[in-house]
Symmetry: C2
Subunit: 364 residues, 2 copies
């Protein structure tokens, strides 16, 4: 595993959390191009607002903090965030518009901007091949580090893709409190990257559901440093690799979901439309009753019928087919053929457990 | 408390459940008129299908079973249900179209029609003022009997309203696994009763949310035996009493929700539209994160902001007002003023607890 050419990483503690790293930095040697995906929550964090404004510019650095969502916290929240970015920009000899920012943690508390600004020089000084420091700085209730790596040989050289993610609650399709940062040294047209990543994000980060709650902070950044130019007939190979990497990070988020004991892949088949297949997958994976049954290794599949009826999908009893691998295992595959048409959709989800409640009863 | 004039009740064990009553009967001396409300789930039970077909006719009896949802159970399910009703009709010297039926319990198992049919004569023989037997026969995971009673003096005599309900999981606005039977000896135009009960159901049984799951079996029947004629200027008094009775039954369902330790009344104010207020109330009351926080007596109100953003309600940080009574108490009142307009909505909900998961992990 290596950091793609053109990037350096750092992670430190700046005092947002009492212990553990809470401030991370991705820095481009020159400038990178970014493709970005944000939460669809109507009350996004200030970090999301600032990054939305900046991501189309050449990107010099991405600042990430954990322990504070920087959302709905203070009337000066937006100004604070811009001030942090502008301080980082000055230290890196660029403009505020070249900086991206992402945050994760509790909603409603003011981000301690002085602590962050004071520690920026130290953060910059620590920049290097610090994969471990960086991934540590983005974790909240995550119990393991979520890193994925791909090395692909093309005609003009080797391309690296290094991806990071954090979970682990408030995860619903269209992202939720998850952050992911994907770095690559490929040189590919930004519009092509945008186009291929849209589909990839839909099949990975937008196909996971922990608790049906959409966070205010979800962010995926894909940054490319444009070092290795590939041929147009090689785009598919890159796409396949990027997709595998994103799906593997997405699965890690679900596997590390708060309190989860089971990982469930739900494959909906035979839906009338793609939209119906998605609705079916999301209704089942959001059902507290279904998720509790899986926790109990209890094949109470009437709850699947009920969840499908709840989103207005009528079924024919003699037709629908439900296949399920052993509920005793940690990894479960559930295939539901609605026998209504030809569309399909897949979602990754987990069980609902007393530990999830315990974590979220105490978290603040 | 008394059974309204013109009705008799019974409850027995017929063998669907190993112990406890599981078969109940409401019988009209003559015929009653019914107003009915059913689940909006697209895969309703056979009992719902048969009652939907029959409820506009004069009603002789309502048969209720617990322990089996009579839903998605067998290709002959509808025929079985009609056979049960037709057997009951014969014993009561009426037609099948004069019978209503409701079921609650597990989805996907065939209703044991022989056990029911065999026990119908015994059930009829037991008919009387058996309030306790009847309410016992409709319970599943309910921990207490849900009965409400009103006695109202009108110019022409005293009107009785006696209401029963059962919960206690799969409860989402638009009803869920809840059944309610309301009997009254009032004589009032059926269309007027239909009109006033629509609003009442919306403000009571359609304003409760336990776990955001809509059941296949929800049913409310309001039956009137037409004994006491009221004057047109007395309709409002009857309406107020019926409303109080329905709200009190609805609250009982939430208070007895599976595993719940807290009862929460959420009042949304200042929404742009009634629809927005409803959406806000339902999103917050469905949030596993919010409900876990309440269980932990944890004022993590960022989760309210997040739940509102999830349903596309953008908020102004300086304006929104959240007021909450003590989280330490068993009854909690939460008022959220969105400061966007003048519409409001109220929902009754509860916390999410490890015990809810335990009950639903094991239930089958």
């Amino acid at each position: 595993m290596k950091v793609p050419v053109g990037f350096s990483l750092a992670g430190i503690n700046c005092g947002i959390k009492r212990k553990g790293f809470d401030l991370g930095l991705i820095c481009s040697c020159d400038f990178s191009d970014a493709v970005a995906f944000f939460t669809q929550n109507a009350n996004p964090s200030y970090s999301v607002l600032v990054s939305k404004k900046n991501f189309s510019n050449p990107i010099k650095a991405v600042l990430v903090n954990s322990g504070n969502a920087n959302c709905f916290s203070h009337k000066n929240g937006l100004q604070d965030t811009e001030e942090i970015c502008s301080n980082l920009a000055k230290l890196l000899n660029v403009e505020e518009k070249n900086i991206l920012i992402a945050s994760t943690g509790i909603i409603g508390k003011r981000l301690p901007k002085e602590k962050i600004i004071k520690n920026l020089p130290k953060l910059i000084k620590n920049l290097g091949e610090n994969i471990d420091d960086f991934v540590s700085s983005i974790m909240t209730t995550d119990t393991f580090k979520k890193i994925a790596y791909k090395k692909i040989k093309f005609k003009n050289g080797t391309v690296n893709i290094l991806g990071f993610a954090k979970g682990a609650g408030m995860i619903f399709p269209n992202m939720a409190t998850m952050l992911s940062f994907i770095l690559t040294d490929i040189d590919i047209d930004t519009n092509i990257l945008k186009e291929i990543s849209k589909d990839i994000i839909d099949e990975s980060f937008n196909s996971i559901n922990v608790d049906a709650c959409t966070s205010t902070n979800d962010t995926v950044f894909i940054l490319k440093s444009n070092k290795i130019k590939i041929e147009s007939d090689e785009v598919e190979i890159f796409k396949d690799n990027l997709k595998e990497l994103c799906i593997s990070l997405a699965k890690m988020i679900v596997k590390d979901a708060e309190g989860a004991t089971k990982f469930i892949e739900i494959q909906i088949k035979g839906a009338l439309t793609k939209k119906e297949a998605e609705l079916a997958a999301k209704s089942i994976s959001s059902s507290m009753l279904f998720k509790s049954a899986i926790y109990g290794e209890n094949p109470n599949f009437g709850r699947i019928i009920s969840a499908l009826g709840q989103v207005n999908i009528p079924l024919e009893e003699e037709k629908i087919e439900i296949k399920c691998s052993s509920l005793k295992k940690k990894d479960i595959k559930l295939t539901i053929d609605l026998k209504r048409g030809n569309s399909s959709y897949r979602v990754y989800t987990c069980d609902l457990t007393p530990k999830y409640i315990k974590i979220n009863a105490d978290y603040s």
